[in-house]
Symmetry: C2
Subunit: 327 residues, 2 copies
Amino acid sequence: MVPGVGPVVFRQLLQHFGSAEAVLGAAAAELVARGVRPAVARESGMLLTWGDDAYPSQLRQIHDPPPMLFVLGEITAADDLAVAVVGSRAASSYGRRMARLLASSFAGHGLTVVSGLARGVDAAAHAAALDAGGRTIAVLGSGIDVIYPVEHRALARAVSERGAVVSELLMGARPDAENFPSRNRLISGLSRGVIVVEAAERSGSLITANVAAEQGREVFAVPGPVGASSAGTHRLLREGAKLTESAGDVLEELCPRLLRVSAERPTFRPTPEEQRVLAAIGRETVHVDTVMLRCGLPANEVLPLLLALELKGVVEQLPGKFFSVRG
Amino acid sequence: MVPGVGPVVFRQLLQHFGSAEAVLGAAAAELVARGVRPAVARESGMLLTWGDDAYPSQLRQIHDPPPMLFVLGEITAADDLAVAVVGSRAASSYGRRMARLLASSFAGHGLTVVSGLARGVDAAAHAAALDAGGRTIAVLGSGIDVIYPVEHRALARAVSERGAVVSELLMGARPDAENFPSRNRLISGLSRGVIVVEAAERSGSLITANVAAEQGREVFAVPGPVGASSAGTHRLLREGAKLTESAGDVLEELCPRLLRVSAERPTFRPTPEEQRVLAAIGRETVHVDTVMLRCGLPANEVLPLLLALELKGVVEQLPGKFFSVRG
């Protein structure tokens, strides 16, 4: 079903490599040597089905997991801890800034950021996750070989190199409007929670939020100035979405599950920066300002470190922004 | 206890007018003729006690109503339908704009706007209520003759002419910090609901909101962009305050009570503008755009009229912004 691979080339490839899986796993140069056009060969797509171990475990749990998932790039075990960051295509600068802040912070905490590769919030979230050195997954409403909007081709390529571009649609499928509600269920399905950053009153993000709630995913919404841009997120907040000002709000809420997962990991080994913060606290109960003073680091470096240590169960936060190291 | 009225003048006044009430009710010119300095005489203060019919009925219901209420101006039966609009002294332009919009709209619906005459949100709310031709009450944390901040003297005078400046503190009392928590209970006590427009994490407005909840008043909070300015209102929203984007959100929530009150009033008599809207709807079910077209009025004039008619129970709103006149 790959465009550019007709019956003749298909038979040649199958005869040479032995199986369709082997073809899809082959290096681009090998494929080109067997008659595949270079542009097609570079799309190192992968097809996951329910039976595959690599099929995303979160997605397997929804009531209608796609039987086939086309993947450009790779879905790894790390993507089991994913959150979706979605919102308006016509996002304001405030909306894009919040998307960037949240996605960057999620990535910094090792969470994969899932979104829809759309303009506005989606693109800001993918890009910020990549900039922060994190993983990100883009779920398309078209085939994985049909990048829409076209100006996001470079972004899609970057996503596929540090995460995955995925779709349940056949290669070549156009980004038709009717594909998107179904696509949205994959965005939430791949994620532990869905954060809606900015959404107007009628917005696809609200559909994603509704589906997320049906799937048992936590729904988070970022407030904004009163006006059309945030009318949808404000509606979500009225309907019970968790008000979200920072990634910390989301992590706190999803924490029990996250901590359960990290408990299965090897013993805690602090990074040099974390070690510096731990030394600054010592055996005392210390105010955050004191931690900053002793570390000689500004708030925007100390606070994420403290949050990370708190989430790892190493540091405890007490009322009034005091911190102590757990015994 | 009035500064500038010593024992000698006091006895002269009492002998001439017969009672302290009569003195307070006397015209400024009469007082000046009896030796009171003009500036003091112009402060036509009034002292209300629990026993007075004019004592605000809402305030009577709280568990600690002040035994004495000093009033500059007048509290009328109309003030029984009051809402408080409070918020940050250091309000952003967004905060002040929202305060103005809400207060103006409340005033347009005949509600009295209560606030604390502070800088920022309070001042914006009082001024907007006055600009909209409505009533407003300023509750002070000092004596009614000690206007703080001083640059709000003109505003205080305007408030006293179209509402009231009130305090439970003796005349001459300074605006000491410890007065304000107690003052805040009067702001909420005089009101059916408290709308917090913009408040930082530690803010007097949050105290007002907590007291309001204890008094059984509904607490409303206006969302804003994520940041220090709205951290307090976002906390209130997390704790269950009603998310408020417009005066309509508040009126809808307080509506049952408001409608009960209006039911006791004489039969509905539409204003000429309301009549124009009713004629535009006729016996049909009509979209709001059609109403605008037929009235030849813009949205910002038609929508408040429709809302007013809806709250009066004359017009019914149907899904999709359709309206019909109730049988």
